[in-house]
């Protein structure tokens, strides 16, 4: 690894650790670093130090799961975005290009409309995301006479628009005092209500998506070549592409199911990581995940401390993401590569 890459990794890890500590202590019920240290000593070594009774609850039941959820969702979206930008040979691609967010949104919105409980809504979002991408892939595979990448993207746009129409219809029909705010809230994304159980449900799926991306890390580089080039170098492009679609979809659907739709992370973070360590996937993927986790944690912490009411992370990622993206575009010649 180059010196630059080592520096980037060290900086990302350090920032992430600091952010996590900050996120544990900041909030409506501030917790001093000394209290955090005492709690850690009690829990890890049974030190038996005296602590305010609320500290343990806030750290372990409220902020801890929320921080872990931000890390999980941020890392998963960044990993999926990194994989897709390489696979679609386009730096403007985000993880929801094949309709996973639209499908998850329809699943969740339908669950809210039918007054289901939180778990059913999550399962609906997850299943909806998988089903939408499955449909897009099937439609794309039917169109055999065109470039397979183009077919996939067009199928994604078409299916996404169709699902958007269903979402609009349900919003129109939903109870405006009860269901509509819940739908809007879900569509903006939020980590406020994440419980340890949600995490335990989502983490295995996100991990199951990450494993193939890690195993195929070297071959991923070849997807950025034309199909003919990649095949002539000895890989089965179609099978590799299907594996990547499955992996990225699992990760995104697991993330979206617990957080709702949080935009920008999967588009922005792969760019930033690529600027730091270059496009080589095995070097790029872990850094993108670290940066994605740090970015979403920062945004979520800001969102719950900035104002008396919580600012949804989807709003903040766009507010921060837009100028950052424009700066990348204007300042860095290589940002598109």
């Amino acid at each position: 690894m180059s010196r630059r890459a080592v520096t980037a990794y060290a900086a990302a890890l350090g920032t992430l650790t600091l952010l996590a500590l900050l996120a544990l202590s900041a909030g409506r019920f501030p917790i001093a670093p000394a209290e955090l240290a005492a709690l850690a000593a009690n829990k890890l070594f049974g030190a038996g130090l005296a602590l305010a009774p609320n500290v343990e609850t806030v750290v372990l039941q409220v902020r801890g799961p929320r921080i872990l959820a931000a890390l999980l969702v941020g890392a998963a979206l960044a990993a999926a975005g990194t994989a897709y930008q390489g696979m679609f040979r386009n730096p403007l691609v985000s993880p929801d290009i094949l309709g996973v967010s639209a499908g998850a949104a329809l699943g969740a919105v339908l669950g809210i409309f039918l007054s289901q409980d939180a778990l059913t809504i999550q399962v609906g979002a997850f299943a909806g995301g998988l089903a939408a991408v499955g449909l897009v892939y099937a439609v794309g595979a039917q169109v055999r006479r065109h470039d397979p990448i183009l077919s996939l993207i067009l199928a994604g746009i078409v299916v996404g628009t169709l699902l958007g129409a269903f979402i609009a219809l349900i919003k129109y029909l939903a109870d405006p005092y009860n269901q509509l705010p819940a739908i809007t809230y879900w569509l903006l994304g939020s980590l406020a209500a994440v419980s340890p159980r949600d995490l335990a449900l989502a983490a295995p799926f996100a991990l199951a998506g990450l494993v193939p991306l890690y195993l195929l890390r070297w071959r991923m580089n070849l997807l950025s070549l034309s199909d003919d080039e990649a095949r002539s170098l000895g890989i089965s492009v179609g099978r590799l592409r299907l594996a990547v679609v499955c992996a990225a979809t699992l990760m995104t659907a697991a993330a979206v199911a617990i957080s709702g739709i949080v935009g920008w992370v999967g588009l922005l973070i792969p760019h930033a990581a690529r600027m730091l360590v270059g496009p080589e996937f095995s070097r790029l993927l872990p850094l993108a995940m670290l940066l994605g986790a740090a970015f979403l944690l920062a945004v979520d912490t800001l969102g719950r401390t900035l104002a008396p009411i919580e600012v949804p992370p989807g709003v903040l990622t766009a507010l921060i993401g837009t100028p950052f993206f424009l700066w990348l575009f204007a300042a860095a010649r290589r940002s598109w590569q």
């Binding site: 195993l215 070297w218 003919d228 095949r231 170098l233 000895g234 590569q337």
Partner: protein, 258 residues
């Protein structure tokens, strides 16, 4: 002489559209075959079929005596290397990383290239004398430099046959000659090389044999002096061309007057 690349009664084309048929071809180590033909004459289609990227419509392709249709993709990659026309790089891989991708067929499904692969990639870079480019990114190379990097990647595949699709297209005059010089050097090193071009004079400079493709699939294969004649060029391109020697090497000069 060992036959590296062979086509027997080969029919090639796209589903529902035959482009050429009945092509017989055998290329040995140290031979250079130049493929000439008009736009849409099927040069790229033929190359894609020879590389197994497009299934043969009739007949068969053999690589080092083995039927391509029965070979796994990685085996094909170890037998024949490909330099595509105008590699359009999207991402800023370094030349070293791009050449290392040539080692894919030697790397396990879940593995990353090891020290031996890095050494092989380094040898390919050295063979083309582009060590100074190794740490530059491919998106910032000139057309000629990129072409040399892509040839290095094909060498890294470890194949003894190479297929180059219009390797001199959109290169300046100097870089065209540099690429032709590399083709001759590769042949001298025992590679079997196939390349296509739109400039018939290049066949006299670099090729030991010429394959002339015309629309509709009429084919001629032979020594450059036999195949590249005024009459054949008129038939293929529909123009008048003089073929005359300068200092012992023949060149083609188009005649503009009607």
């Amino acid at each position: 002489m060992a036959v590296m690349l062979e086509a027997r009664a080969l029919g090639y084309g796209y589903p529902g559209r035959a482009v050429g048929r009945g092509l017989d071809l055998a290329l040995g180590a140290g031979e250079v075959l130049c493929v000439l033909g008009p736009n849409g004459g099927g040069k790229t289609t033929l190359f894609r079929t020879l590389l197994g990227l497009l299934p043969a419509q009739a007949g068969e392709v053999l690589l080092e005596g083995r039927a391509l249709a029965q070979m796994a993709r990685a085996e094909v990659a170890r037998s024949v290397g490909y330099v595509p026309q105008g590699h359009a790089a999207q991402f800023a891989f370094t030349v070293r990383e791009a050449v290392l991708m040539g080692r894919t067929a030697h790397v396990g499904l879940f593995a990353a290239p090891g020290a031996a692969d890095r050494a092989a990639a380094g040898r390919s870079i050295g063979a083309l004398g582009i060590e100074s480019l190794a740490d530059r990114v491919v998106t910032e190379l000139s057309g000629g430099e990129r072409q040399l990097a892509m040839i290095a990647r094909a060498l890294a595949q470890g194949a003894r046959a190479l297929v180059l699709d219009e390797p001199t297209a959109s290169l300046d005059f100097g870089n065209q000659v540099r690429v032709l010089r590399e083709i001759r050097r590769l042949a001298a090193d025992g590679y079997a090389v196939v390349f296509s071009t739109h400039d018939p004079s290049q066949a006299f400079l670099a090729a030991s044999r010429v394959l002339l493709l015309t629309r509709g699939g009429a084919l001629r294969d032979g020594a450059p002096e036999e195949v590249i004649t005024t009459e054949n060029l008129r038939r293929v391109y529909g123009i008048e061309v003089r073929v005359a020697p300068i200092d012992g090497t023949r060149v083609c000069l188009p005649v503009l007057k009607a």
